[in-house]
């Protein structure tokens, strides 16, 4: 352990699995101001067998659609404007969508090729969980 900025998370699962996660605090990534304007615009991502597109409005509301027929609508908020942390509440729906439901999660902005051009998103409910990387179009 160092004098500051480290932690060990012991993750306990209901099946008896235990993980140890040793982490270092990323000051520059977290301790910076972001705004809903930084999120606004169109984003997209893809993995094997799936592509998706996200439109985020300047108010924080967003809509997304996936190539699997699922649609997403929700709201993003920034709890603390001087910190890079985004909370999300969303609903997934679709006639042929197998994961319909309400979800909540967290996201962060990251810099890849330019400032704030990448989103890391994770959200779940009691049944399903998803994690994505989305890139600004």
């Amino acid at each position: 352990m160092s004098s500051e900025g480290t932690l060990r998370a012991t993750v306990e699962g209901s099946l008896g699995t235990t993980l140890d996660v040793d982490l270092v605090y990323e000051t520059a990534a977290y301790e910076r101001s972001i705004s809903l304007a930084d999120l606004a615009g169109s984003w997209s991502g893809s993995v094997s067998g799936l592509s998706f597109a996200i439109i985020i409005s300047p108010s924080g509301s967003f809509a997304a659609s996936g190539s699997d027929g699922c649609s997403v609508a929700g709201e993003l908020t920034i709890p603390q404007l001087d910190r890079n942390m985004i909370k999300g509440d969303l609903t997934i729906s679709g006639f042929n969508c197998s994961v319909n439901g309400t979800y909540r999660g967290l996201a962060i902005l990251a810099n890849n090729l330019q400032a704030n051009d990448t989103l890391f998103i994770g959200y779940s409910n009691n049944n399903y969980g998803f994690a994505y990387q989305a890139d600004r179009n």
Binding site: T6, T10, V21, D22, Y25, Y128, A131, Y132
Partner: protein, 115 residues
């Protein structure tokens, strides 16, 4: 949309043991100093590191914590964890806090009011 990272749905709760610095670079939220040498334990922030499982090795991990909720993405193993967490104050900090309260009646009153 379908799952990008396989979700380990049985991951329900994480227990954090933070060391110094308000649980991370000033605790993300500033690591408010409550008394000389004693800082609040606050894990809010963005963290990177390694996940280890006995017998399975290590994998790089991106994690973000906010007020009791966390998301951790473990790309190498294609896993994703989300849930709630509690923070365990290390015994050395607990001892320092007890000592401070014993020595300072005003701090005892403040602690009682805050509890």
């Amino acid at each position: 949309m379908t799952i990008i990272f396989r979700f380990t749905i049985y991951i329900l709760m994480a227990t954090l043991v933070a060391c110094g610095g308000g649980g991370g670079g000033g605790g993300g939220g500033g690591g408010s100093v409550t008394s000389p040498g004693v800082q609040s334990q606050n894990a809010n922030g963005i963290w990177t590191g390694m996940t280890s499982v006995a017998g399975s090795g290590y994998s790089e991990t991106l994690a973000f914590f906010n007020d009791g909720e966390f998301v951790a993405i473990n790309a190498y193993w294609d896993e994703f964890y989300q849930g709630n967490y509690t923070i365990m104050v290390p015994p050395s900090v607990q001892q320092a806090l007890r000592h401070m309260l014993l020595m300072d009646p005003m701090k005892q009153m403040e602690a009682l009011r805050a509890s």
